[in-house]
Symmetry: none
Subunit: 122 residues, 2 copies
DNA sequence: TCTGGTCCTGGCCACCCGGCCAGTTTCGCA
DNA sequence: TGCGAAACTGGCCGGGTGGCCAGGACCAGA
């Protein structure tokens, strides 16, 4: 029997939205093995809220999301083509669409924009 | 219609320590009202690790930070050179150092790595 | 049926990027 | 007085990138 010999995980909340913070506090307060940090207490883990203003509002196709994810990993067009089993020309086609939709000047800018707007997680 | 039909809170984990991440995933996975984000899915809340011991900031020079910041804005080497008042060759020199220090394969990968490690904010 | 969107592919070309070689100056430290 | 680190500059070159042209296949909806 593996008991809870592991120490409790102390977590603190850094949520702007009071309603969301309240809900989370109620939900997490009842979890055994977790404990909300006392005011000023050093927590081992922090829950942070994403700014609700940055919702992924951009309409990207599934294929564009595939290409975007690989771009964020630093993959070249050739690598992406091999990974997805398509030609380099098709990858360029999707990259071009991404640059257009994300209003970016290049692949680096596209990844930065996508991360900022919550389309992808780095 | 503001009943308790409140949508599930989607949260993602950004924990360096695999053991801690695993414990948290198990604990939080059983909480009704919460749901762990699928890979790549944008979460409304993020759980981040606050381990002060793991803060070995990468040693970047001031000039490298200047170049890195402009790279994250999608600037080309020519633009960076003009912005900093130096030659394109010097920009390439700093970019090369950044790729080496950040263990990146290209400028896009370098920006992603830097953002992940907290060196820059997107 | 026809239109529009998505996905796929090819060629062509100017430009950019990253790596290689070489060098200079300045500054702090031993 | 030397020595290394940082910053800066140049030339060269293979390969990558992005924009332009063209096309075809598939499928949902008007």
């Amino acid at each position: 029997m593996s008991e809870d010999n592991a120490p409790e995980i102390v977590l603190s909340l850094e949520i702007d939205d009071p309603a969301l913070a309240d809900r989370l506090a109620k939900l997490l307060g009842n979890v055994t093995g977790l404990r909300l940090a006392a005011p000023g207490e050093a927590a081992s883990v922090t829950v942070v809220a994403r700014d609700p203003r940055i919702r992924p509002d951009i309409a990207l196709t599934q294929r564009e999301l595939d290409v975007l994810a690989l771009m964020a990993e630093g993959a070249s067009n050739k690598m992406i083509a091999r990974q997805l089993g398509i030609s380099v020309h098709t990858v360029k086609f999707h990259v071009g669409s991404l640059l257009d939709k994300l209003d970016a000047t290049g692949r680096t800018d596209a990844v930065a924009h996508a991360a900022r707007r919550g389309v992808i997680e780095l």
